[in-house]
């Protein structure tokens, strides 16, 4: 296939934007670490509420790129919301409570504003996992496109 | 907050709460007044006494949930003790029988 010069795809990160519990905030904090730091030029964040509202330009752009959802509780709102808005399965999904479960020594504080020390540490652990996944998704792009 | 709860009208298993001697006892030889138990207990069993030598007291014993010993687990000094559950159960049975 003759390839045109194509702009590299990016990975959208959608944390669940939960506001009632610390787990939503951990997912959100982790997402910021990914887009600001760990996968700076590869990932971007946008508003989940805007996706659900049905903002066409945004949904089209998601569909042209990749998407990872980061949820804060088993209700998996981000997963469900993104899936129903875009009509496709997200390329990756994370649950912040999983990180909490497997790091019992870092029991998160319940504070949300600002996040406690343990919650921040957990956010970073989660961010590392998400950014790994970002790398994987983009790598498979390269292989697939080569 | 705690004042809303009126133990004199409360019952536990059909027995007036005030007749059940279940609440924590603080061993002041061990207690370091770290306040973990007070932070933990949502029922305001404890109260801080900033100006007194005993900076923490069991102020609302009847707010304590019968058979709950969760605050004792929060205590790093193991300074909290509770009555024997079997004795309390026996007592409740006796009073219910009356």
């Amino acid at each position: 296939m003759v390839k045109e010069i194509m702009l590299a795809k990016k990975v959208y990160i959608f944390p669940c934007s939960g506001v009632g519990k610390v787990f939503g905030s951990i997912g959100r904090e982790a997402s910021y670490i990914v887009v600001n730091e760990l996968a700076k030029d590869k990932a971007k964040i946008s508003c989940l509420p805007l996706v659900v509202k049905g903002k066409k330009a945004l949904i089209d752009d998601i569909n042209e790129n990749h998407v990872i959802v980061v949820d804060g509780c088993p209700s998996k709102c981000s997963y469900n919301d993104v899936k129903s808005a875009t009509g496709k399965e997200p390329d990756g999904q994370f649950l912040s409570t999983d990180v909490v479960k497997y790091n019992r020594d870092l029991k998160p504080e319940s504070d949300i504003i600002p996040l406690g020390e343990n919650a921040k540490k957990l956010s970073r652990k989660l961010a590392e996992k998400i950014s790994e996944k970002v790398g994987e998704i983009l790598d498979s792009d390269k292989k697939g496109g080569a | 907050m705690a004042k809303e709860y009126d133990a004199s009208t409360e019952e536990f298993m059909g027995v007036p709460r005030k007749k059940i001697p279940w609440w924590p006892t603080i061993d002041y030889n061990k207690c370091t007044f770290c306040m973990e138990c007070d932070k933990f207990c949502p029922h305001h069993v404890y109260e801080k006494r900033e100006t007194e030598q005993r900076k923490l007291v069991v102020a609302n014993p009847y707010n304590c949930v019968v058979f709950c010993r969760a605050c004792a687990k929060a205590c790093p000094e193991d300074a909290l003790s509770f009555p024997d559950k079997r004795e309390i159960t026996k007592l409740i049975k006796e009073m219910r029988g009356v």
Binding site: C73, V100, K101 | R69
Partner: protein, 293 residues
Amino acid sequence: MAERKTVILPCNGLDKALGVVAGRAGIVACAKDPGIKLVCPVLLNSGEPKYDEMVKDADIICLNGCMTRCATKLAESRKIPVKTNLLVPDMVKKFNLKPGTDLVLQTSGVQLPEAIADDIITSIKKDRESMAQEIHSIEVEDKAEYFETKKDKFYFKVPKGAYLFNENDCWVRVFGGLAYLGISDFLQNQVGDILYVDLPAIGKEFGQFDEAGSFESVKSVQDLISPVSGKVVAVNNQLASAPELANQDPYHKGWFVKVELADFDEDKGLLLDGPAYFEFMKKKIELEAKKQH
């Protein structure tokens, strides 16, 4: 889940080939399944105390060589509760293997203990499977009807039947001599997302209202206060990797502990049935709301 111990008490009578077969079958079964333990009838009869621990809480199989049933009688005399009594002559018919009369076992006499051992092992497996099946039954949402109430945006469910509760918001559901324990919908709502669950060791015994496990959320650490007395025979290991089951499905997949009941008739006098607990819970919800003011 918990695997119960199996102990074989063979007769090992040395005056008949059938007795030799019984003893031999016990030895072979133990060799094939290390979960099975063997009791020497002669040593047991001499009053050996070491067997007391071994037979405690185990499934005892008495393997009798003949109709005199010495093994069964021995168990009775030592007050050991027997689960199954087997007779070698029945096995002879079943497998059509005659051991002959020679005390030094020959051909079919050698095959018979093998067959008996296999038979015992197969039936133990079946038992375990049916126990697993039973677990499955509590995990499947039955057609149980629920009472439901709502406070603001929170909903609380209580099954109408089959479950009994204590006033510490923990439930018990009885199946024969066994029972499952868990926490009520109200309690899971109170503590919020459960992150870690600690469950008791298999074999642990506790009295009514003792702790039978604990669970932890960001908000608090709490105990499951057992509505019944008993001994732990199994725990819900799924809760280790998926503690959210206790939030999502507290009456089924979120069960905590399975116990062998010690004195349910006595315990149940202090428990509430579904309708009574529902009324109790509604009062508690109102009280909690008031306390927040």
